[in-house]
């Protein structure tokens, strides 16, 4: 693949995995020809996709064994159901098994997802809880690197998964949060947030802002080479502390936030 210098956000999930792994090391697990797809969507009138929107790619990163889990934002908004959720959780569990045996496989999550797939509801939430457990265990052995650089961003239970990653890398395009703008507007009204107000949204939950807050570690250009370089650096120089354990500083940051006295959004 010659993704050198390409805009990362314009690549599809498979191309992104290629761009991150060492040249010619890409080997896909459960590839589309195996047609391991969601059995829950056809009864609901939705056409399944033969990889269920997640690419599992083994390979190498700087010569070290690796696995990239790349979510396809263009299929059902990158939503997580039973099958693609099991692809991610199951892979992290295998990496953990190997790490405990002294064999390091570097795990990378390419997060382009709105969160739980509503059509698979509680199967999605269970898969995501499996993932959370695996990340918390695995990051004790090897950095778990997350990349938030796609057009969907990273939300819902997968926003929590991102919050557990050892190192997060983001770009101008990436957004990271729990509830996406449309969900906020729907649940709390447009006075709380106008989901069409793009500048306000990016200045609030965009990765540039997240870097300023310390909620991601690395902010880079939307460029495949730059992102790949940042990912390699994250493995060479692992984070020494985990953001999700930074309790006192986080509570102080929240306490210092100027909340409007009325509780109004603006």
């Amino acid at each position: 693949m010659s993704d050198a210098g390409a805009s990362f956000s314009e690549l599809d999930a498979r191309e992104r995995a290629h761009a991150l792994l060492d040249a010619r090391s890409f080997r896909e697990l459960l590839d589309p020809f195996e047609r391991v797809e969601s059995p829950h969507l056809p009864p609901q009138g939705i056409v399944p996709q033969s990889d269920d929107g997640v690419v599992v790619a083994r390979g190498r990163i700087d010569g070290v064994e690796a696995v990239v889990l790349s979510i396809e934002g263009n299929y059902q908004g990158g939503s997580i159901g039973e099958v693609n959720g099991a692809k991610i959780a199951g892979t992290l569990e295998l990496a953990l098994r190997d790490a405990k045996r002294g064999r390091i496989v570097r795990p990378v999550l390419v997060l382009d997802t709105g969160g739980i797939r509503l059509q698979e509801a509680n199967l999605g939430i269970l898969a995501i809880s499996d993932m959370h457990a695996a990340i918390v265990s695995l990051r004790e052995c090897v950095p778990v690197v997350g990349i938030v650089a796609g057009r969907i961003g990273c939300f819902g239970g997968m926003g929590i998964a991102a919050g557990l990653c050892s190192t997060l890398i983001g770009t101008e395009i990436g957004r990271l949060g729990l509830n996406g703008p449309e969900v906020i507007e729907q649940e709390a009204g447009s006075a709380e947030l106008d989901a069409r107000d793009r500048p306000r949204i990016w200045s609030t939950i965009g990765c540039r802002r997240r870097r300023e807050q310390g909620l991601i570690e690395v902010f880079v250009e939307d460029d495949a080479i730059a992102i790949s370089a940042a990912m390699r650096a994250a493995f060479r120089e692992p984070a020494k502390t985990f953001r999700s354990r930074d309790i006192d500083a986080s509570r102080a940051r929240i306490a210092a936030y100027a909340l409007p006295p009325t509780g109004a959004a603006r």
Binding site: L29, E82, A89, E120, A121, I125, I160, A162, G163, A265
Partner: protein
């Protein structure tokens, strides 16, 4: 009244577990010590969108602090042979807080902190149980409950386990509410009641009670006995979320979760 607080009071001999939106109380039962944790409504809470018992940007970090404090204290006492106390999440959470300020402050990281604390406590040898006494919904449930080694639920019509309100699912998926409700019969994972959730193999046990809102003395006795039994099981055999796939019901309803893992393992190493 919030069921989490009702059960905390009942199980902890009337303790309120402090004040504010996150409560924690320690109990000693037989040879077990446990810290009970719940999230409760507070009309005076600083963030308006977390006043009805939601897990908001303060609550996730507060849950994490309550659990870490127990883990850290027990790590020191471990040198004197004290076993790590149990952590019990009492779950009645209507959802995460939906608000602009919450997102601005990083609600996802706050929920991650809570999930991390439960998972880390489990990895540090604390048996972690979640007792679902009311609503267990979406991000709030991921932060407060789902990282437990065992989930128990009251067998009660007031239990709800789902990822989004029926009205919102209808809007987002462009269906009528009637269609969404009917779907629960075709795809059990989209149902909301505790029996449907049990069918997914997610629950270690169901507990029948007389009064889920105001537990009777007998309800409390039964709950304590079931919790103790579950804690003994977890001390004998460490379990994590993925072990729910081993439940008999999961073999039927989460068959693809199991199959995908088998295929991954078979393909993990390149053919020689």
């Amino acid at each position: 009244m919030n069921r989490g607080l009702a059960w905390l009071r009942a199980l902890a001999d009337g303790s309120e577990g402090g004040n504010g939106t996150v409560r924690a109380a320690d109990v000693s039962w037989d040879d077990e010590r446990a810290r009970l944790v719940c999230v409760v409504p507070d009309a005076q809470a600083r963030f308006p969108r977390a006043r009805a018992g939601q897990v908001g940007v303060e609550e996730g970090w507060k849950i994490a602090a309550a659990i870490r404090a127990a883990v850290d204290a027990d790590a020191i006492d471990a040198t004197r042979g004290v076993q790590p106390r149990a952590i019990i999440a009492l779950v009645d959470v209507p959802g995460q807080a939906f608000g602009y300020h919450e997102e601005a402050l990083g609600l996802h990281e706050s929920l991650a902190a809570a999930a991390d604390a439960y998972a880390s406590a489990r990895l540090a040898g604390h048996p972690v149980v979640a007792l679902i006494v009311g609503k267990a919904i979406s991000g709030a449930f991921l932060a407060h409950g789902l990282q437990a080694g065992a989930l128990i639920a009251l067998d009660d019509a007031g239990i709800e386990v789902h990822v989004m309100s029926q009205a919102s699912v209808a809007r987002v998926t462009r269906r009528s509410e009637e269609e969404v409700a009917a779907l629960a019969n075709v795809v059990p994972a989209t149902a909301r009641d505790v029996h449907a959730f049990a069918q997914l193999g997610a629950l270690a046990r169901l507990l029948g009670v007389e009064n889920a809102d105001v537990p009777t003395a007998d309800d409390v006795r039964k709950a304590r006995s079931l919790l103790l039994q579950t804690l003994r099981d977890l001390r004998a055999c460490e379990r994590g979320p993925a072990d729910r796939l081993g439940n008999e019901a999961a073999g039927r309803t989460r068959a693809m979760s199991i199959r995908v893992r088998q295929l991954l393992e078979a393909q993990w190493d390149a053919p020689a």
